[in-house]
């Protein structure tokens, strides 16, 4: 199926989902749904670097948080234009600030793309294991930096006021959900397009055997940098609306452990070699967690995710998609 058609279908499905969700008139649906759709973006983004290219990123929380904090920074600037800017320039800034969320999303994406590029440039020339560890270390360091940065609230956090209503739609939460849903469509379409393109073949070659890929003419460093930048940018885009969603942002919640583990567990449980895997993994695990959060405690919930990750990694390394493919191929060869 060609990409434009797929995009159309995806948008239609998203539209239908959105309309269906408005029927019960339950705000909670949108609150919970936002988290799941956000994870679709994160899991898909992680998978571009981790599943397609084979480079594990343990610092997804850092990219997510940078996206969130770039929003906080820009909103704070918007609130304090008159204190920060010289009097002659202030009216100019008042014209377009506070920035609308879609713009914040793009900016968050760009910032994280640059961070991903920089980090990749420093660490990708070493083995995959070094890259993975560096991402973990970087997450700790970025958290340290943010905690020490008073402008965005430091360790005491920052309040972001969410407007009550979005004109024409109803609650602001519905607007946020809709945006995130669009972002998810974008992420999935991007992942699918990459997977089937020349770039996707290059990624797969790097994942399977980087040395042989080099010898076949694949510019491995360049492609890995592309993957890191894309992956980071998407994660940043997922993080940008988060301050509006949550209202009060603390470093502990932005850099929370659940982002790191979920962005890995969801693709690995769903299946890492295609765009479908992260989607399936997120829908399953995400829904499970929303239920568990309400019924059991959130810490036990995380424990279950961790155990599931270990279990799947040992027993079903190619995830649910892999299990399905194996059974399908076994049946086909009979």
């Amino acid at each position: 199926m060609r990409t434009p058609l797929f995009l159309l279908i995806a948008l239609l499905v998203a539209g239908v989902i959105f309309l269906l969700m408005r029927l019960p008139d339950m705000e909670y649906l949108f609150v919970a749904g936002y988290v799941i759709v956000q994870y679709i973006v994160l899991a898909t983004a992680w998978n571009i670097l981790g599943g397609y290219t084979g480079y594990v990123n343990f610092g997804s929380a850092a990219f997510f948080a940078i996206g969130a904090y770039s929003t906080v920074a820009l909103v704070t600037v918007a609130n304090e234009i008159d204190e920060l800017m010289p009097a002659s320039l202030a009216p100019f800034f008042h014209l377009f600030m506070p920035l609308p969320i879609p713009v914040l999303i793009v900016i968050g994406g760009m910032v994280c793309g640059i961070v991903g590029l920089g980090m990749g440039y420093l660490t990708l020339r070493l083995r995959g294991a070094f890259f993975a560890i560096a991402t973990l270390a970087m997450a700790v360091v970025l958290q340290t930096l943010v905690v020490n940065w008073e402008f965005v609230g430091g360790s005491s956090g920052a309040y972001i006021l969410r407007p009550g209503e979005f004109p024409g739609l109803g609650s602001y939460m519905q607007y946020l959900f809709g945006l995130m849903l669009l972002l998810a469509v974008l992420a999935l379409v991007a992942a699918r397009t990459i997977e089937r393109s020349r770039l996707g073949y290059g990624f797969a070659a790097i994942r399977d055997d980087e040395l042989a890929a080099e010898a076949s003419g694949v510019p491995t460093l360049r492609l890995k940098l592309v993957a890191t930048t894309l992956s980071g940018a998407l994660m940043g885009m997922a993080g940008a609306p988060f301050p509006y969603y949550i209202g009060y942002l603390q470093p502990q919640s932005a850099f929370g452990l659940e982002y790191a583990v979920n962005s890995i567990a969801m693709p690995m449980i769903g299946g890492t070699t295609t765009w479908v895997g992260p989607l399936i993994g997120t829908l399953l695990l995400g829904t499970l967690q929303q239920v568990a959060n309400v019924t059991i405690s959130s810490a036990v919930n995380l424990l279950l995710v961790g155990l599931l990750l270990i279990g799947f990694v040992i027993v079903a390394p190619n995830g649910l998609v892999g299990l399905f493919e194996d059974r399908w191929r076994a049946r086909g060869s009979k």
Partner: protein
Amino acid sequence: MSALLHVQGLSKRFGGFVALNGIDLEVRTGERIGLIGPNGSGKSTLVNCICGTLQNETGTVHFDGHAVDGLAAHERTHRGLARSFQLPRPFTSLSLADNLKIPMFYTVHKRSGPLHADNIDARCEELLKMVGLDSKARHRPRDLTQVEMRKLELARAMAAEPKLLIADESMAGLSHSEIEDILALLVRLNEGGITIILIEHIMSAVMSFSQRLVVLVTGKKIADGKPEDVVRDPEVVRAYLGQ
């Protein structure tokens, strides 16, 4: 005929261990070179240094008139250098046909512009047929025997449309007729203009194929000349042949 590949004074160490010690090698366009030597003599290390998988410490490598020292392996492949790996390194998650598409997408594409999808599929089929693997085009490498994987290695190197092809022990484990087939294939490629370096232990194949024979022992080149002369060289006999 000018020198396509010119290696001068190439040395490579791993910590305290000297793998290659001042290797000089000249390969002219269109030649068929055989490279032999005992296990551990440095043949694969030499290939790795020529192709950029490893970087040499001293010495220079010139290919097609340009110095390639310091260039990454993929850039050397773009310039026309291709090799198969001694221990096959297939792309395990891709089908055989897709394995061949990688060098096509990233080397041929780079050199002569985007290929049409039909051209690519036709070329893949052609290459697989040349090595006798066309029936398994949709299979994954894990379904192949060791011997078939070596053939895939060769096909993948050929897919890069090289000027110089280095075949690293592609024939290990093949039957007599299979060896004949691969030899005939290599000779045909050579007649089409591809320079070939054949690294092998199977002496009959090397003797019938090579115009020139180079012998490597513990990192040093000890012989370089006509096959008939080299195999009679007492040092070669002592170090490698006479067992």
